[in-house]
């Protein structure tokens, strides 16, 4: 051990043993430092800042040699109080907050929240067909982009950098579509109670069709690169094993549950937004390990492409149809249009409220300042997010703001499986197991 003390990574003696702060390139001093200790047990505090922990996740690992004897998670480093903030904003503004929770699948956060609000408003049957189809289209595109990140980061963490670069390359294409349709790459706040914020822009359907054609060429690349790759398989197969009984006890849903072979998918079992009218298959696998979950994610991207294709065909026949409920007491009043000075309220709308209808002006003013009231009660309408069951428990006391909004985020629940997936395995497999859960800390901590 070197006698010099590193000012930024000091060693210390504590009642629990000697503490080392590992900063890189100092492995020799750590090894020589612990070699004279009697027992071989090392507690490694990994994170919260660590490239392989999918964001600010902290792992506390107890190691004997390279074997993990105990693994625990420390979370909360990304807690921003979104649920509490939503209680001080109107129901529509709530969308702007919840879209930032699980930042890889923003549309799902918006969707489950809006479905809950719509159920309380009792307007579930009044949502226009075009809004439903656009929601499905956006969600399935989002599933592709989210699974691409899951595969890309998972690959990066085991050293497969090409998987990362091509994964993010394709994800960028999806984000371009989001930008075209909603105006933003992330944090869209596009799905609103009652429908969606805007109609499809001109030319969007053609761009989505081009994307589908391109993805059909690109998706096989993942299979060719990974499916039979001996290094890839050696790192993934048998790692992060969790059987069906374990999944149900721990409340695990999504690809992790489906990798046990159990075909549970809320899009089939409790269809929402018209999913019962689309043709697609629930993907399962016969090995409940990291490899099975990888294969499920790739297969689900194919299924999502199928749904996107069907949604595009439906949208082609719905040109000019409304995308927001007709009820003027709920529908967001402003209608955006591109003017000579950028995007703003359409001149038609300004003319309508300023020159034609006093009631329309009152509705506009009241909705924008006060918002609408939601009848008292509580609702829970879950959706199948890329990571599993995502549900918003929405409580209203009859006011203009949510009384309570709580999100059951699948990352939060699934992360509980970290210890059962990693204990008894190698320390390098912890990373693979967590990558196969695909937790997004924005959703875990909210």
């Amino acid at each position: 051990m070197s006698t010099e003390q590193d000012a930024y990574a000091p060693q210390a003696e504590t009642s629990q043993g000697r503490v080392f702060t590992v900063t890189g390139q100092d492995w020799d001093s750590v090894v020589s430092g612990i070699s004279d200790e009697h027992d071989n047990k090392v507690v490694v505090n990994m994170g919260p800042q660590h490239p392989s922990t999918h964001g600010v996740l902290r792992l506390i690992l107890e190691l004997e040699g390279e074997t993990v004897t105990e693994a625990r998670c420390g979370i909360g480093y990304l807690h921003t109080g979104i649920e509490k903030n939503m209680e001080y904003r109107t129901w529509v503004q709530g969308v702007t907050f919840c879209t930032r929770m699980d930042y890889l699948s923003p549309f799902y956060n918006e969707m489950t929240y809006c479905l809950g609000v719509e159920r309380l408003l009792d307007i579930e049957d009044d949502i226009p067909e075009k809004a439903q189809v656009m929601r499905v289209l956006l969600m399935e595109l989002n599933r592709i982009s989210s699974h691409l990140v899951a595969i890309a980061t998972g690959g990066m963490e085991i050293g497969a950098l090409t998987v990362m670069t091509i994964g993010f390359r394709e994800r960028e294409l999806v984000l371009d579509l989001f930008e075209l349709i909603t105006g933003l790459r992330m944090n869209h706040a596009f799905i609103r109670p009652g429908g969606v914020a805007q109609d499809m822009p001109p030319g969007a359907l053609d761009q989505i069709r081009d994307f589908i054609t391109l993805m059909k060429k690109r998706l096989p690349e993942y299979a060719a690169l990974c499916n039979a790759n001996p290094i890839f398989k050696a790192r993934l197969e048998g790692v992060g094993h969790l059987d069906l009984a374990g999944c149900l006890a721990l409340g695990i849903t999504g690809p992790v549950l489906r990798s046990t072979g159990y075909p549970h998918d809320l899009r089939k079992s409790e269809p929402y937004s018209g999913y019962e009218d689309y043709e697609f298959d629930v993907q399962t696998w016969d090995t409940p390990d990291a490899y099975g979950r990888f294969r499920i994610r790739v297969n689900e991207m194919w299924e999502s492409l199928r749904i996107v294709e069907q949604a595009v065909e439906r949208l082609a026949g719905l040109e000019g149809a409304p995308v927001m409920v007709g009820d003027k007491k709920i529908a967001w009043p402003s209608q955006l249009a591109i003017g000579s000075d950028g995007m703003g309220n359409s001149l038609d709308h300004i003319r309508h409220i300023m020159g034609e209808s006093m009631e329309a002006l009152i509705h506009h003013f009241k909705l924008v300042t006060e918002g609408f009231r939601v009848p008292a009660g509580q609702a829970y309408v879950p959706v199948e997010s890329p990571r599993g069951e995502l549900g918003a428990h929405v409580v209203s006391d009859g006011g203009t703001r949510p009384f309570r909004a709580h999100f059951r985020d699948p990352s939060f629940v699934n992360l509980q499986a970290t210890s059962v997936m990693s204990e008894g395995g190698m320390v390098a497999d912890v990373i693979v197991a967590i990558a196969s859960i695909d937790p997004v800390m924005g959703g875990v901590d909210r």
């Binding site: 909360g76 109080g81 509490k84 001080y88 159920r119 226009p128 429908g195 805007q198 109609d199 822009p201 149900l248 006890a249 721990l250 409340g251 695990i252 549970h264 079992s269 409790e270 000019g320 409304p322 995308v323 927001m324 003027k328 007491k329 529908a331 967001w332 209608q335 249009a337 591109i338 359409s346 038609d348 709308h349 034609e356 209808s357 009631e359 329309a360 009152i362 009241k366 300042t369 918002g371 009231r373 008292a376 009660g377 509580q378 609702a379 829970y380 069951e389 549900g391 428990h393 006391d397 009859g398 006011g399 309570r404 709580h406 059951r408 939060f412 629940v413 992360l415 509980q416 909210r446």
Partner: protein, 252 residues
């Protein structure tokens, strides 16, 4: 008029003279049907009290009511679940476990006495006709004006066998914020209960390690309670500061 409108409008604008009356559905115009479960009162319309209220709405007082108890038949599969649960709890000797049943917007809620929660959860999971294998989640709600039942813990259960969803609700007073833990039946409740403890201060008896999960370990208070003090933002303008969101003037 329709022809020259751009494509991005979100629906047809109403023709002049056909608009809905803007005062329809205003709270002062909606009669109280008196069937709900009162949890508080709403006063005024703008969150301003006393002499500062120049709105003219200061005298408006309305009860805040959650949906009240429902009577059978509840409709469809809900009757099967309710019957099976009542039968099972009778044979387990806890026939008064369910205080009331609320059916609202197609969702069924069983309000369970907190001392019977553990037993009811076990019956719901194991009974042949119930089989609620998956606990979706648990969340807390704080009703500061619901005297004696201020803290509610809400559980969402899913039966994969029968494809049904129910909700359990237990309450605890602020003075004795204790609810038994269901971790022994549903291990997934571990983190959910820690979160409810962290944010609402509900103590789950029998939880293996009830510690804070989102907030730092030494954090004072439970942030999602309605009485948790919110901070204002100091602004450097003649010593003024923005009041916390719950004290700002806003619609209520």
């Amino acid at each position: 008029m329709a022809g020259d409108r751009p494509d991005f409008t979100t629906g047809p604008l109403t023709e002049p003279g056909t608009d809905v009356d803007a005062t329809d559905g205003m709270p002062e115009n909606v009669p109280d049907d008196g069937t709900g479960e009162q949890i508080g009162r709403r006063e005024g319309m703008f969150g301003v009290r006393g002499t500062g209220d120049t709105s003219g709405y200061g005298g408006l007082t309305r009860p805040v009511e959650m949906p009240g108890p429902s009577q059978p038949p509840y409709g469809g599969w809900m009757d099967d679940v309710a019957t099976a649960l009542f039968e099972a709890s009778r044979s387990a000797g806890i026939e008064h476990a369910v205080e009331r049943v609320v059916v609202h917007r197609g969702e069924i809620t069983f309000h369970v006495r907190r001392e019977d929660l553990v037993e009811v959860a076990r019956l719901l999971r194991d009974d042949e006709k119930l089989r609620f294998e998956l606990l979706s989640g648990a969340s807390g709600v704080h009703y500061p004006d619901d005297a004696g039942r201020e803290l509610h813990v809400v559980y969402h259960l899913l039966s994969l066998t029968h494809n049904r969803r129910i909700r359990l609700e237990v309450t605890a007073p602020d003075a004795d914020p204790r609810v038994p833990s269901v971790v022994a039946t549903y291990p997934t409740a571990d983190w959910h209960e820690r979160e409810v403890f962290d944010f609402f201060g509900v103590v789950f008896d029998g939880h293996p390690s009830l510690t804070r999960i989102q907030m730092p370990d030494d954090w004072p208070g439970h942030p999602q309670r309605k009485d948790y003090p919110l901070g204002g933002i100091p602004v450097e303008y003649k010593g003024g500061s923005i009041p916390p969101p719950d004290q700002r003037r806003s619609y209520n």
